[in-house]
């Protein structure tokens, strides 16, 4: 799925099947946040093809590794979101529980 040259691994296009804006846009965000990336973007070549192309150009590091790191970052972000959400939810629940108890005669 990777299209790039062998001499210069710092730039490549990755073609992901069965993905859409959901993943590509999030990855573009995490890629852009990576200081090693000089350019990144994505496109969906045809709306009825379930496929996105992600272009990554870096300063020197291999684009593949940078994309992998970005995926890793996104995963860590997700895990943190999940943890924080669960915590906020239980907090809300317990607060609600206390309130409803005090209302009861």
């Amino acid at each position: 799925m990777e299209h790039g040259s062998f001499q210069d691994q710092s730039q490549a296009t990755f073609s992901l099947t069965d993905e859409d804006h959901t993943l590509a846009n999030s990855l573009r965000y995490t890629l852009n946040q990576d200081p090693r990336v000089t350019f990144c973007g994505y496109s969906i070549p045809h709306p009825s093809d379930a496929r996105v192309n992600i272009r990554v150009q870096t300063t020197v590091d291999p684009a593949r590794e940078v994309l992998k790191d970005s995926c890793q970052d996104l995963m860590l972000i997700c895990q943190h979101v999940r943890g924080t959400f669960d915590q906020a939810f239980t907090e809300f629940k317990s607060k609600k529980g206390l309130e409803s108890m005090s209302i009861e005669p």
Binding site: M1, E2, F14, L16, E19, D20, H21, T22, L23, N25, S26, L27, R28, Y29, N32, Q33, D34, P35, V37, R64, L67, K68, C71, Q72, D73, L74, M75, L76, I77, C78, Q79, H80, V81, R82, T84, F85, D86, Q87, A88, F89, E91, F92, K93, K96
Partner: protein, 380 residues
């Protein structure tokens, strides 16, 4: 908070810019980076500046360190009922918030009626319309307990739920409504006999139906004390006149919202950015009264500042609908600024009933994680 001084967004020549500490953006750029400005003609600075080197020439690092994200990210639950949930997500980019929303709508599986075997339908509703209506009925069943049914799978107790519907309106009686509570769960699978090509009498085993359940679903521990049924009892499916009858069997399977909206687990899931209403100058007395009257949702209040004088305050910015009524007319836009906070999302999830909203959200986040993992394994 941004102070009064910083709120002036007028253009300043670059050499007149105040000195700012290193590593910080000048206030007007910071404002453009973190807020959407809702001016009277159009919203401006709507884009998110994501490139890590966007402010490199000013010595400002725009990259996001995971550590910073961890420290700043906040979730606050605002409202929670059985099916609805509203919460604030603070400190996250729109790209990721939107990914969650898209997954909630299109990529979380549920169970929905997909195949309808119609034995008899003399009602005025055509077969295909009836089947479509049945498909849209939300079912109260945890989809995680089921498998997807692929092309050459036999329908079994792990991928199919069968409902029966048999209603007739007797001659001489008034018209009746067929509601979703008439859909009766058949835990043992289809009751319709499949007509085989060789319908010879020597068929040894039991007669073949449209499903091949190896055991009754009601004997499975998940469903034994939790029978499967439509979420709502009172959805009208059809109306029958005297002498009309519907007899059918409906098979529900697991699917995703991107195939058909009937599999979407949410009625809708959406977010909006937190509105921010700022008074650029003190607004007093009659003008304050006027401002309070202008707003249809009562964002502003009046407070007394002594000596019989009154001042407008922003009391409920959250309820602002951004109708822009308060910045209409002569120079009001110089007094009031309407903005949206770019990284503060008010997220609302309305579940259709298969799963509670908080479970939906955690499942959605997990799906995004799985997607990342897939890419990582494919690249390694």
């Amino acid at each position: 908070m941004i102070s009064e001084e910083e709120q002036k967004t007028s253009k300043i020549p670059v050499w007149d810019l105040p000195d700012v500490p290193k590593g910080k953006l000048p206030p007007h750029l910071e404002l453009q980076r973190t807020r959407v400005l809702c001016t009277f003609d159009a919203p401006t600075h709507t884009e998110n500046i994501r490139y890590s080197g966007a402010y490199a020439s000013m010595g400002v690092d725009n990259s996001l360190r995971l550590e910073d994200f961890r420290n700043n990210f906040k979730v606050e639950v605002i409202k929670l009922t059985e099916d609805d949930m509203e919460f604030d997500m603070i400190g996250i980019d729109a790209a990721i918030a939107n990914a969650f929303r898209r997954i909630l709508i299109a990529e979380l599986p549920t169970m929905a009626i997909e195949k309808v075997f119609i034995a008899n339908n003399t009602s005025v509703v055509q077969d295909e319309v009836l089947a479509h209506r049945l498909g849209l009925i939300p079912l109260k069943v945890d989809p995680r307990l089921f498998n997807y049914m692929s092309e050459n799978d036999e329908p079994n107790e792990r991928n199919t739920i069968v409902f029966k519907l048999h209603v007739r309106c007797e001659r001489g009686s008034p018209r009746i409504k067929v509601k979703s509570n008439e859909l009766k769960w058949l835990p043992n699978g289809s009751e319709f006999i499949r007509s085989t090509e060789k319908s010879t009498a020597d068929s040894t085993s039991k007669t073949k139906t449209y499903t091949s359940f190896s055991c009754g679903q009601d004997s499975l521990p998940e469903f034994s004390d939790n029978p499967i049924a439509p979420k709502h009892d009172d959805i009208i499916i059809a109306k029958l006149g005297p002498g009309q009858e519907i007899e059918l069997e409906a098979h529900a399977v697991k699917g995703m919202g991107k195939t058909h909206a009937k599999w979407s687990p949410v009625a809708t899931a959406w977010y909006r950015m937190l509105p921010e209403v700022v008074l650029l100058q003190e607004i007093e007395d009659e003008r304050a009264e006027e401002l309070v009257k202008k707003c249809p949702v009562n964002v502003f209040d009046i407070e007394d500042i002594g000596k019989g004088r009154k001042r407008a305050t922003v009391a409920r910015p959250r309820s602002c609908t951004l109708c822009r009524e308060c910045i209409r007319g002569d120079d009001w836009d110089k007094l009031v600024a309407l903005r949206r906070v770019k990284d503060h999302f008010i997220f609302t999830i309305e579940s259709t009933g298969a799963l509670p909203p908080e479970v939906l959200f955690t499942e959605a986040v997990k799906i995004l994680e799985d997607k990342c993992e897939r890419v990582i394994t494919e690249l390694s």
